[in-house]
């Protein structure tokens, strides 16, 4: 738990789960992302949209610790993540946090069975009972709509949509509180996308997950995100509630982005 101060109503004072302040990452003279600040509250889904090269992936990789930002602070539950020891930080990545890659091949072990993939995080956090690990894995495969008899198949025998669902199961099995998603529906056809989004929406609601989701697909954030952040050239140009930003865009770039969506 973070600071246990009591608010004026005698309850635990609410604090954001993730608080980002003035985050900046440069690649030499070029800007990856600059001066990004936001709060993510428990149970909230934050969408980050923008075109390719707008810095949204840089931002996400800085948040998830894949890169170290040049400036700024990242507070998780009130603790400065950048000041954590590497051991504590990696423990966070194995348990409390999860990262869903755009390409499931980056997030899965392709040479290990589906059950082993789901069980890895459990074993990484100390589970040593084969039967229990397998039961949990079977349960999670069911939750992401993968038949239980596929548990011993390798992900290479799965379709793209199944691989992505397997990756989600693998990430959520330890009950993380914060999930980073990088274009989770990229590369999937629209009907599979729709099912995946449906599934994600259900899981996010049931588990009360906080999610930071990066995408260029406005339909995805319309369905999933509570709040939206629009980025351009490494900077945040507009933030607000999803419907507000999409239906009444204020910034010129956002207006362009919204009007660029193809209508069928």
């Amino acid at each position: 738990m973070g600071a246990g101060e009591l608010g004026i109503f005698g309850k635990m004072k609410l604090q954001p789960l993730l608080s980002v302040q003035g985050l900046t990452k440069r690649y030499g003279a070029r800007i990856g992302c600059a001066d990004v600040s936001f709060d993510l509250w428990p149970g909230e889904v934050l969408g980050i949209v923008g075109e390719s090269g707008s810095g949204k992936s840089t931002l996400l990789s800085c948040l998830a610790g894949h890169q170290r930002p040049d400036l700024g602070r990242i507070l998780y539950d009130g603790d400065d993540v950048l000041a954590l020891s590497e051991a504590a930080w990696r423990r966070l990545l194995r348990g409390d946090w999860a990262y869903v890659h755009q390409n499931p091949r980056d997030g899965l072990r392709m040479g290990v069975s589906a059950g082993g993939n789901v069980g890895e995080r459990l074993m990484g956090t100390g589970a040593r009972h084969y039967g229990a690990i397998r039961a949990t894995a079977t349960d999670w495969l069911g939750r992401v709509e993968i038949a239980a008899d596929r548990i011993d198949d390798r992900p290479s025998a799965f379709s793209g949509g199944m691989q992505q669902r397997l990756q989600i199961a693998r990430n959520l099995v330890t009950g993380p509180r914060l999930v980073f998603m990088d274009e989770p529906t990229g590369g999937l056809d629209v009907s599979v996308q729709a099912r995946l989004l449906d599934l994600l929406r259900g899981l996010v609601r049931d588990l009360g997950l906080s999610v930071v989701i990066v995408t260029h697909d406005l339909a995805v954030v319309r369905l999933l995100a509570d709040r939206l952040m629009v980025m351009k050239s490494g900077r945040v140009v507009e933030t607000g509630l999803t419907d507000q930003v999409l239906d009444d865009p204020q910034h010129g770039y956002t207006q362009l982005l919204v009007s660029s969506v193809l209508q069928v």
Binding site: S113, G131, I133
Partner: protein
């Protein structure tokens, strides 16, 4: 007999000193892989260059050397290495486990229990237990540093999922003194229990990978397993056809084209000494037991 063109035990004194420093460090951190400046040896990698360097660094003129390969004293690898040290160090050699002060081994621990004062040197092909799970050296070092060994259990999980039991039968991973996960070199898992609490010093040398690791005497070594699939030290379900032993590790030998087979002790010294005591097996030429 000694080839005087070489320094005692082939390696020069500075090299032996460097290896001894690595050995002391390895003994101080049981299971930790200590890098060392592995030398070219007059034999191909994979033939025991690591073990030979460790043996050379440990040998004294008073030592009595035994070399075994898969338990046998009389195979090419064992004979060559034994002869190498006879020529370059002039040390006494033996085939008897009890008489030896230093035993270099490939893939077996002798059946005869070792005692204090003995040194067992293993030839190690790949010292990194996580290598086939995680190809990046930087990452495996980090995993050792932070004790992230969950991946090792993923391998055992896959074994059970695919074969119904832990099918890893050699190079079975162990945890040393509750800290480092170690690959005990490709010894059969039958030998794993002998790693623990052994009165002898156990040294592991990997020449190509340039790593040394070690187990000091009476070290705590636990084979990894699951609570509901405990570790089992398995062997062929038979007795030695020459000496009748039911407790030693057995090799299966095909004896003709019709599929006839026999089981013999892999440890030749153990088998020979049992036969010398008059023990008989199913196929003993002198008749049945």
């Amino acid at each position: 007999m000694t080839d005087h063109a070489y320094n005692f035990a082939y390696l020069d004194e500075q090299t032996k000193r460097m290896i001894r420093r690595a050995l002391l460090k390895a003994l101080a951190m049981p299971g930790y892989q200590v890098p060392f400046a592995s030398r070219e040896m007059p034999m191909p990698y994979g033939w025991g260059t690591g073990g030979v360097q460790v043996t050379a660094a440990c040998l004294t003129p008073d030592d009595r050397l035994k070399v075994i390969d898969q338990g046998a004293d009389d195979t090419t690898n064992a004979v060559s290495i034994r002869r190498f040290f006879q020529r370059t160090a002039g040390v006494a050699v033996t085939e008897a486990t009890v008489e030896a002060t230093l035993i270099q081994t490939r893939h077996r621990i002798p059946e005869q229990p070792l005692s204090e004062g003995q040194i067992l040197v293993y030839q190690v092909p790949i010292p990194e237990p996580l290598r086939f799970l995680e190809p990046r050296e930087t990452e495996t070092r980090k995993m050792h540093e932070l004790e992230e060994y969950g991946l090792m259990h993923v391998k055992l999980y896959e074994d059970i999922a695919r074969h119904g039991e832990i099918a890893t039968s050699y190079a079975y991973p162990v945890k040393v003194e509750g800290r480092y996960v170690m690959d005990p070199s490709p010894i059969p898992k039958f030998d794993n229990p002998k790693l623990a609490g052994n009165p002898a010093i156990q040294l592991f040398g990997a020449g190509r990978e340039a790593r040394i690791h070690a187990l000091p005497p009476y070290c705590d070594v636990v084979s990894l397993d699951f609570e509901d699939h405990p570790f089992v030290a398995s062997k062929a379900d038979a007795c030695c056809d020459l000496c009748g032993s039911g407790t030693s590790y057995l090799d299966e030998v095909i004896t003709d084209d019709r599929g006839s087979r026999m089981f013999v002790c892999s440890d030749t010294d153990y088998c020979t000494s049992r036969r010398a005591e008059g023990q008989r097996g199913r196929l003993s030429p002198e008749g049945r037991a």
